[in-house]
């Protein structure tokens, strides 16, 4: 099953876990399954069923927004990284 790394900001919603497993063949399916297992995540992660604008999701180190978005295929042994959108340096 694919794994999902949880940022510190969302750990309170999942009992402190740093990494969880969720089922699905695409990024969208994995996130929907994650929200089914941990409904407390839904308002922050998938409000109105869409990925929240201040959340970035990475697969193999690449933002899914520059891949195929929620339709990006995910392998069984792969890990998604969730991160809050942060202002960069400068």
């Amino acid at each position: 099953m694919p794994a999902v790394r949880i940022p510190p900001t969302l750990r309170a919603e999942v009992g402190g876990a740093r990494e969880l497993e969720a089922q699905g063949a695409t990024v969208g399916e994995v996130l929907e399954d994650l929200v089914r297992r941990y409904p407390a995540l839904e308002p922050q992660l998938l409000p109105d069923g869409e990925l929240a604008p201040f959340v970035n999701v990475y697969l193999r180190g690449e933002d899914i927004r520059t891949l195929d978005g929620p339709d990006t295929p995910v392998g069984e042994d792969e890990t998604l990284i969730l991160l809050p959108a942060m202002a960069g340096g400068g």
Binding site: T9, F54, V55, G61, E62, P84, A87, G89, G90
Partner: protein, 313 residues
């Protein structure tokens, strides 16, 4: 014989930075790598371009007049660049910086005469942005250039960085730059795409340590108003350890001492270069490594752990 020449102001020396090929770093002969050495700007980073552009634009529009004070959220480089412009143009400067930036930045800013307001370390750059917006709201004598939302930022990279690269090379297939405000990627990307329509714009972005992601909720996340992610072709996450490995590789192979984000750019550029059969990849190296020398990660057995609690770029 070289022409005898001099500049009438340090600000006239902003931009026109060197572009150098990196033959020893390229993973294959058919891919040519180049680096734009932005550390060669007067205060040592590409932020000189936007500091000058933002102040010029604000003075031209009449928004910035003598007697006002400058305020800016920064992780360091923009503050140092603004400190130079502010000094030469006669404005006092206050910088809002996360408490966990390297000591060199704080010291440099103080030497320039800037005032520093610290934002909570755990909130990273988002905290600096939030606090600066609050301070500007409270005190109307502040003028805040606000690099995250100021169109003069990407414009400086359109007219400067991007135009300089386009003038220097006959072919560019990939532009790689660090993602901070998004100014370099948006501005230089747009300019280069005009000359090279098939250009790929690749962002290298930092994977922050857990300790600098202390937002209370994701709604405190921040996407700079000048950044349009749809205009990026790739957005690659680079860990602190990978960035430092990139810094070391760049120094070892090419003798270039870059900062942490330059290491990240090199890491991302090599990843893309390995996927290409042939082509030209240009890396924008934002600053040199000098401002990071005091940091504890150089000799640390676990680089990632040593870097987890600070803001690096």
């Amino acid at each position: 014989m070289a022409a005898r020449t001099h500049a009438s102001s340090l600000l006239d020396l902003v931009g026109q930075t060197p572009l150098v090929e990196l033959p020893r770093l390229s993973p294959k002969e058919s891919v040519r790598l180049y680096a734009k050495l932005e550390g060669q700007n007067p205060t040592g980073s590409l932020k000189d371009r936007i500091a000058k552009a933002m102040i010029d634009a604000a003075e031209a529009s009449g928004e910035l007049e003598p007697g006002r004070r400058l305020l800016e959220p920064t992780s360091g480089n923009t503050g140092i660049a603004l400190a130079l412009v502010a000094k030469l143009r006669g404005y006092p400067l206050t910088c809002v910086m996360p408490a966990n930036v390297t000591e060199e930045r704080r010291r440099l800013l103080r030497l320039y005469g800037a005032e520093i307001v610290e934002s909570p370390a755990s909130e990273g750059s988002n905290g600096a942005v939030r606090l600066a917006l609050e301070l500007a709201e409270r005190d109307p004598s502040f003028f805040m250039p606000f690099q995250y939302g100021n169109e003069a930022n990407p414009r400086a990279h359109y007219e400067g960085t991007g135009a300089e690269i386009a003038a220097a090379l006959d072919r560019v297939d990939v532009l790689v730059a660090g993602l901070g405000t998004g100014g370099t990627l948006m501005g230089a990307g747009e300019r280069l795409r005009e000359t090279f329509p098939d250009l790929l714009v690749v962002a290298a972005e930092p994977l922050p340590g857990d300790e600098v992601m202390g937002l209370r909720s994701l709604e405190e996340g921040y996407v700079p108003p000048i950044l349009d992610v749809a205009k990026l072709d790739r957005k690659l996450l680079v860990s602190n350890a990978e960035s430092v490995a990139g810094v070391r590789l760049l120094l070892e192979r090419e003798g270039i001492f870059g900062g942490v984000s330059s290491g990240a750019v090199v890491h991302a550029a090599l990843r893309v270069a390995r996927e290409l059969e042939e082509g030209v990849v240009v890396c924008v190296l934002a600053d040199g490594g000098w401002k990071y020398l005091s940091a504890g990660f150089w000799e640390a057995p676990d680089v990632e752990e040593a870097m987890a609690s600070a803001v690096w770029w």
